[in-house]
């Protein structure tokens, strides 16, 4: 201070020092205010984007439910309805006035139609909730699904569970089943794949499911783009289910570019 006073003079030191400190304080306050404004603006933007994303997922979920309802309604109306109406025709009031042989034939036909109706309703019920999944768990349900696909002869499919000693809880298994079902359906519909192979493994508290296929697949950026866009209802449903599971999903291609991989990571939750 003494050095400054002797070289610059008292007034200069005082005025420069005061001005310097004052501007330092003003600059500091301005930086804080502007930085905070920027942070708040950024947070609001992120919040808005997140809200939009949630809205989109919610809309996709509602749309999916509506489509599912329409499908069930169509199945019941177009298949079960005519079948039961036909059975009613066979079992009309004139039946008692007919010959015993004709009566027997009508009853037999009606029985056959009712059996078909039961089978139809069972199929609808199974499509809503696979009985294998309910009774025997995810591994059995997935293997059953892959066996059915394999049985069609169109595509070669196989599933292998390496470490399923500690199962996911029922709710998680259903969600994982739906995700895998959707992925497999997508592969069959869009990829023209020759084979689909599913592998399951576990590490610590995490369970991994990986699907390989040799068709035309998508990558992570495509998934994110489609999931955020207005199309891709199935992918939106996958994403919303992954969120419920608190898991992750990765779409990749192998280094040799011969097959695509979809990996799902699911953290285990305690069995309820």
């Amino acid at each position: 201070m003494f050095f400054l006073q002797t070289t610059l003079g008292v007034s200069s030191v005082l005025i420069l020092g005061t001005l310097g400190m004052f501007f330092m304080a003003i600059t500091l306050v301005s930086i804080v205010v502007f930085h905070q404004r920027r942070v708040i603006r950024f947070n609001k933007q992120i919040q808005k984007m997140e809200e939009e994303r949630q809205q989109m997922l919610l809309r996709a979920s509602i749309q999916f439910q509506e489509e599912e309802r329409q499908r069930i309604a169509a199945d019941l109306h177009d298949d079960a309805g005519p079948l039961l109406a036909t059975a009613r025709l066979y079992l009309n009031e004139n039946l008692i006035h007919q010959e015993p042989a004709l009566q027997l034939q009508s009853i037999f036909s009606a029985k056959q139609i009712i059996d078909d109706s039961i089978q139809l309703i069972r199929n609808i019920s199974h499509s809503l909730m696979p009985p294998t999944l309910k009774n025997f768990g995810l591994e059995a349900a997935i293997k059953d699904l892959f066996d059915k696909i394999n049985g069609s002869g169109v595509i070669n499919s196989s599933a292998r569970f390496h470490d399923n000693r500690q199962r996911l809880n029922d709710e998680q298994e259903l969600l994982v089943f739906r995700i895998l079902q959707e992925l497999v359906t997508n592969i069959i519909k869009h990829s023209s794949a020759g084979f689909i192979h599913l592998t399951q493994n576990a590490q610590g508290n995490l369970v991994y499911f990986r699907i390989h296929h040799d068709g035309k697949g998508i990558l992570q950026q495509d998934f994110e783009k489609m999931e955020q866009g207005s199309s891709g209802l199935g992918l939106k449903n996958i994403q919303s289910r992954i969120r419920v599971l608190k898991g992750k999903i990765y779409f990749e291609i192998d280094n040799t570019h011969t097959y695509y991989k979809v990996t799902i990571e699911v953290p285990r939750e305690p069995v309820k």
């Binding site: 008292v10 007034s11 005082l14 330092m24 500091l28």
Partner: protein, 187 residues
């Protein structure tokens, strides 16, 4: 405070300056202690306060008894208060608060202290050695009065913020008679 120099000639009034500095510092420490979030710095405030009081007493009794103004103590006080203010602003930057910082009472009080102590830091530091210099005395008055006016304006803004906070709080209180009012209505 604006008339330090007028009374600086009297040797006894130096103790008044020390008392003023200690009281001012104590109030500020209490205020910053109330508004800071839990941290090591907050815990250290009482110790820093005691340390400063001890230092001010030693300075007034043994070191600075013949000078006539507590420049050194005021300088230390300014540095501590400026650092506390900067720390408060830093905590506000770090915290994820969606409320605009300049709409709070605490912020305006803090920037009042920050600007006031930054502005008068050099002034008080030089007062003890320069109070006989006539040109310094003139500058002293101008700078001191200017920063005092600025301080008062900023504190007025802070008070306005406090008043608007109170009014908003009163507005958001649901009257207790609300339930009875709805229960007694004939539908």
């Amino acid at each position: 405070m604006s008339y330090y120099l007028q009374s600086i000639q009297s040797e006894k009034t130096v103790y008044l300056f020390y008392t003023f500095t200690i009281v001012e510092y104590s109030f500020f420490c209490y205020f910053i202690y109330l508004i800071l979030p839990k941290s090591g710095i907050k815990k250290s405030i009482p110790f820093i306060w005691i340390g400063f009081i001890v230092f001010a007493l030693i300075d007034s009794v043994f070191i600075n008894k013949d000078v006539g103004f507590d420049s050194f103590t005021s300088g230390i006080e300014s540095i501590i208060i400026i650092l506390f203010c900067i720390y408060y602003l830093y905590t506000q930057l770090k915290g994820a608060n969606n409320l605009m910082i300049y709409s709070t009472f605490n912020f305006w009080v803090i920037i009042t202290f920050l600007i006031y102590f930054c502005g008068t830091f050099f002034l008080y530091l030089m007062t003890a050695s320069m109070h006989h210099n006539v040109s310094f005395q003139k500058q002293y008055f101008i700078i001191n009065i200017a920063f005092n006016i600025l301080k008062n304006i900023l504190l007025c803004i802070a008070m306005t913020m406090k008043l608007s906070d109170t009014v908003n709080q009163q507005k958001s209180v649901i009257p207790k008679s609300g339930d009875e009012f709805f229960l007694n209505q004939k539908i």
